[in-house]
Symmetry: C2
Subunit: 714 residues, 2 copies
């Protein structure tokens, strides 16, 4: 096995890298959260980066995803290795061509960063609804659980589709995997070359439509022969699982990373098993690791190859001791008595129960549950809750986890305070910033600095709200000695570092309950140091004292203004983080920040780089540690998110969403048909502006451009 | 219950009639086999026909099915009762809007004449692939098995969606039901009015978007609340099955026709049950009726409400004695371990096996099978074969029926000669014509004449090949004393009447093996009567003698030419049919044909009507009975469909398709990826022209219009 390098990238880039290497043509159309894959491919091709065969892949942006799928079909028929990327509604538009591409047994891969579909409301976030809506097309479905897998499975997809001729839809969780930045082991071009069989490439090209040896495709078939035609493909689908497993085995030889189409982890004598795919499989793995350490007989079966669904492989991968199974689907099909993966598993288990030679002497109980719709968190605490539910005599079927369903009582209960304790050697850092203020970018730099400069593993996940620019962002960073299987947010009471980049968050967001004992809190504020304590709400003061939190204060706005950075405070706050978090020796860290600044900003000009250097140096002088009083003062409480005179719906529902407590809203509070009252934005005072424009009547020339200054046109 | 009238219509017209009555807006886009529904609606509106509320429904044709679905969504949000019609790929384009319409709990109905999807090849024919591709959208799915049900369920759909707010996809089998002409009991406007609750209409209209009372819909929801929002609809889906059943019960009170969401027919102590939806349910019903008469413990469970899938209703509808179940799906999902309805049933049965209080003490064996893809025949013989298979110790799972799968051995065997004998009092008549020669139209007239003029029930089904104009058509007509549950073609050895409208069929098609004993064969030929016998192939001569078949001969072309009808022989052949088939007294029949001619052609001018009258009168003089010799002559055998020098694939595959034996082609003969050789039409000599154009070199002015005369541009 050759030496392998690491890379610090997100899931989209990981998949796109393999796709670009293995394609002649990439047909793209942007849709969140898959857009970056197409953007990367486009950028690489525009820079002349070549594929495995030394040519620059052609990247074609079409008029819609439907057009992209049509172009894929066409390019494949011309013998090109062809790829597309998509998500959500975009995938729906590709379904008609997917039937054709699969029906014609054409090797190809679609990479999907799986996303919710618009139903009662649109959502840009992640779940498997889109992928599941295409499960009947005849594609193979390969699921990745992490950024590492997004790269590894991408390659396994190409290797498998070339041999098996069944096209592959490779998917991973939108945002959670597509946008998580992680330190992974890179897959080198040499490994890709080893995995892609040139003979199979030649076979694919030889099947192309070609005037030199014309063939007819796209015929019309009638009742006499269509059915027979449809059954001709059976052997390809029967063979595909073994082909995928073979590619996984070959990949393991080259990289040391061994995957299975159904991969079990847990106690050998497990009685309770969760079956799941996507990033939730990683969280379940991590939780199982902790639970079996304390003697629990539990396990997790990761479904990687969802189609063709190999019932035998599933049954054989389960421990023979299993008595209760929970199958978790990250989607909802209203009106179906159970979600897709659940039904697949029940069918396999029932067939075994009805078979002559059984694998399980007693039929295990199988229940199905929904979790994580639209990137709803799926945490170790919930997983513990599911195993506890399985411990009951009659575990709930068709359950939900992670919400309170006070209408149809689908949700199971769980102990929210449960924590695997796996992060005791991990630095967990939280940063509260504003969209477009540079916080996220600086944090991505920090991950690179630590990931590249040390042996530490690093993970970054960035929570945006969909108001985008100017709305809140929360960066969740983890640094630790082991690879992370933690595709979930930093839990309450466990952040070692919290950075608050805007003082207004103090009175709006309960940041401090995220803090661990002896952690560090960094605040950017314009208040003089002796007034700062009184800007903290009472609850926060109490927590700081109780948890022995060190508080550091900087007026980053002043430093930014003074050093000519305008209102860009990201580099300043990043410097503070390195100065006080001790994740790296201070001097080393400062040098690394400067190097990163140079890399990021040099294309914007030497002076921008200089300004940043100056800001970094000044920052350290302006950073002060706050003396913590022995007791909380008679301070204020968190502000109500909306005024007291707001209508009930605004107070009860929208206000809770604004306050960041939307997760706690029970089902009954949400409109059943997506109908909301209008004119409710008037109650949301975001209060994030440092300067407020004032209309000066005397000098107004009625140019009308005030609407640009104040988008609310007040 | 008011007196009910009968109607002689096809499934498309039946559904469209209800749709037009219950809609303010119909958004249409044509796709076979659903186009006629939109055409009917368009025609009725253009004639000023009004809906229940006295207004003329607006019929809007959009640029595609995607546009039609968008327009439906928009019109619904404006409070209009809105409908669309579609099939196959058209339905795929509607999926994105279907998620929205269902997500917003908007009452509405889509009528689908279910059709295959294009995969290895396109097919315009019927199966459930399209419908199944939309099963995850959140629509309710209501299935009709016959023309009568297409009308009845259409109305039940509207009544249910208004009360339950879950939109309904109402479907029936493309061609088999959509294009079958049948004598049914009409649903009067009064009954429709009884079924449609005006209060619910008002509620629907009140939910419309309206500037007077503005609401917000189509929001973006984030991870905090989207999941809860998605679970708000549970109670609507839980309530829907009971609401549909209530509508069925109300409908039964008004019409006497009682339906159930899961409807069982068969032995009370049945041990073997088939579960099925669509027209196949009717064939199974008919077969079960015969099998239980001979003491077999069999039954059929018709799935009418496929979504929301009510597992309890399913379990309760099954006889408690059932030991073996075959679930039949009219679709194929490659890579899925079993088709959708099969998985639904297995899941229900498995849940019962795992429940505390069981319905079945021993878990019944459940196997799944595919049948009837792309309008492949599904016959009583196959059904008998399935029950026989269920009788085995280990019945085959994931089977196919109706084809020979020599690649993966999925097919079960059955005795093709099995026949329920249910048609002993039925006149079964077959007519072999050419597309556009008027045969089908005349046969539809015949059905009306018999259906309206007598107490007989009538059924007509028309087999076209997709070459359309100029290709063969076979009309399958049945007339009998009881309503027909026979959505399958007339079986071998059971036609009482066979009309051959083109002499060229004699040497190409084995028509006579369809003939029953003592049946009548009518031939249109230009041969003199004393030469006719020798134009019959030897096998045909033998069969005529053996089965004691009466043969009548007419030179319809001569009559047509002589009476100024050109080459339109349809009325002449129809006259012959009535003259010799004895389905009606001759004089009565002739008067009825004339009346029908008047109705059909009067808009084309009085002279056309007169020409037809003349042809009818002359026909009877020119119709001669053939004297049958005692023994067959040393005649020829059926011609090979392609020349002996054709390539093997043309001889083995295309030739068999041309010869009408495509049904017998085993799976191994079909290309697995839809790839065919080119330039094969040269081997098909259709030989259907009565006159052949000759190029006269001397008078050619090189206008180039010869391509119009000879489309092959010879």
């Amino acid at each position: 096995m050759a030496e392998q390098k690491t890379a610090i990238i997100d899931g989209n880039e990981a998949a796109a890298k393999i796709a670009h290497l293995c394609s002649d043509v990439l047909c793209i159309y942007p849709i969140t959260p898959s857009s970056n894959m197409g953007e990367w491919a486009d950028e690489w091709s525009s820079k002349g980066q070549t594929n495995l065969w030394g040519t620059i892949p052609e990247v074609v942006e079409m008029q819609s995803e439907a057009g992209a799928a049509g172009a894929v079909h066409g390019a494949l028929q011309a013998g090109a290795m062809t790829t597309t990327f998509t998500a959500s509604q975009g995938l729906l538009l590709k379904i008609p061509n997917m039937y054709k591409i699969a029906g014609e047994l054409t090797p190809s891969v679609i990479h999907v960063s799986a996303r919710s579909l618009a139903a009662q409301a649109l959502s840009i976030f992640g779940d498997h609804s889109d992928v599941m809506s295409a499960r009947q097309t005849g594609y193979a479905f390969l699921s990745s659980s992490s950024v590492q897998e997004a790269m590894d499975m991408a390659l396994i997809s190409y290797a498998s589709t070339l041999e098996g001729r069944v096209p592959v839809l490779h998917f991973f969780d939108g945002f959670r995997t597509s946008h998580e930045v992680s330190k992974i082991t890179d897959v080198s071009e040499e490994i890709v070359r080893e995995m892609i069989d040139e003979d199979l490439i030649r076979e694919h090209r030889n099947r192309a439509m070609n005037p030199e040896k014309p063939v007819l495709r796209g015929t019309a078939q009638n009742p006499d022969v269509y059915f027979q035609g449809r059954e001709t493909v059976n052997k390809y689908y029967e063979a595909m699982p073994a082909i995928v497993q073979k590619a996984m085995d070959k990949f393991a030889k080259l990289t040391g990373r061994q995957y299975k189409i159904f991969e079990y982890f847990g106690a050998e004598d497990a009685e309770k098993v969760i079956i799941i795919m996507g990033s939730g499989a990683d969280t379940t793995h991590e939780t199982v690791e902790q639970l079996i350490a304390s003697g629990e007989k539990v396990g997790v079966l990761k479904c990687r190859l969802f189609r063709p669904f190999d019932e035998k492989a599933l049954l054989n991968a389960l421990p023979k001791t299993v008595k209760k199974i929970a199958v978790l689907d990250r989607c909802k099909e209203p009106g179906s008595a159970g979600e897709p993966l659940y039904k697949d598993v029940v069918t396999a288990i029932a067939q075994d129960a009805l078979a002559g030679e059984k694998i399980f002497t007693a039929m295990p109980v199988v229940v199905g549950g929904r979790y994580g719709l639209s990137s709803k968190e799926y945490t170790p605490a919930m997983i513990k809750g599911i195993y506890d539910e399985l411990g009951k005599d009659q575990p709930k079927n068709d359950f939900t986890v992670g919400i309170i369903d006070d209408l149809t009582n689908t949700n199971i209960d769980y102990d929210k305070s449960y924590n695997t304790g796996v992060h005791k050697d991990t630095v967990q850092a939280l940063f509260y910033g504003l969209g477009s203020d540079g916080t996220v970018g600086a944090n991505k730099n920090s991950i690179k600095i630590i990931g590249e400069g040390t042996d530490q593993y690093a993970q970054g996940y960035f929570v945006y709200d969909s108001k985008k620019s100017g709305a809140g962002t929360v960066s969740h960073l983890r640094f630790g000695p082991k690879p992370m299987r933690s595709p979930y947010l930093i839990e309450d009471g466990s952040a070692n570092f919290i950075g608050c980049h805007m003082p207004v968050f103090l009175e709006k967001i309960d940041m401090i309950s995220k803090a661990a004992k002896d952690s560090v809190f960094l605040l950017n504020t314009q208040e003089p140091i002796d007034k700062v304590w009184d800007t903290f709400p009472k609850h926060m003061q109490e927590q700081i004292i109780e948890k022995n939190i060190s508080v550091y204060v900087i007026d980053a706005f002043k430093v930014a203004e003074h050093t000519g950075m305008g209102n860009r405070i990201n580099t300043i706050m990043q410097t503070c983080f390195f100065a006080i978090s001790n994740v790296l020796p201070k001097d080393e860290a400062i040098a690394a920040i400067k190097k990163a600044v140079e890399k990021t900003y040099s294309k914007k000009g030497e002076d921008i780089v200089e300004l940043n250097f100056k800001a970094i140096d000044e920052t350290l002088d302006q950073l002060h540690k706050l003396d913590i009083p022995a007791a909380a003062s008679d301070s204020f409480t968190l502000k109500d998110p909306v005024p007291a005179n707001a209508p009930d719906f605004v107070k009860d529902v929208l206000g809770e969403i604004i306050a960041g407590r939307g997760d706690e809203l029970p089902v009954s509070k949400m409109p059943c048909d997506g109908t909301f009252p209008t004119a409710t934005t008037q109650y949301e005072k975001r209060n994030i502006a440092l300067e407020i424009p004032v209309w000066e009547k005397d000098i107004c020339i009625q140019c009308g451009k005030c609407t640009f200054v104040c988008p609310h046109a007040c």
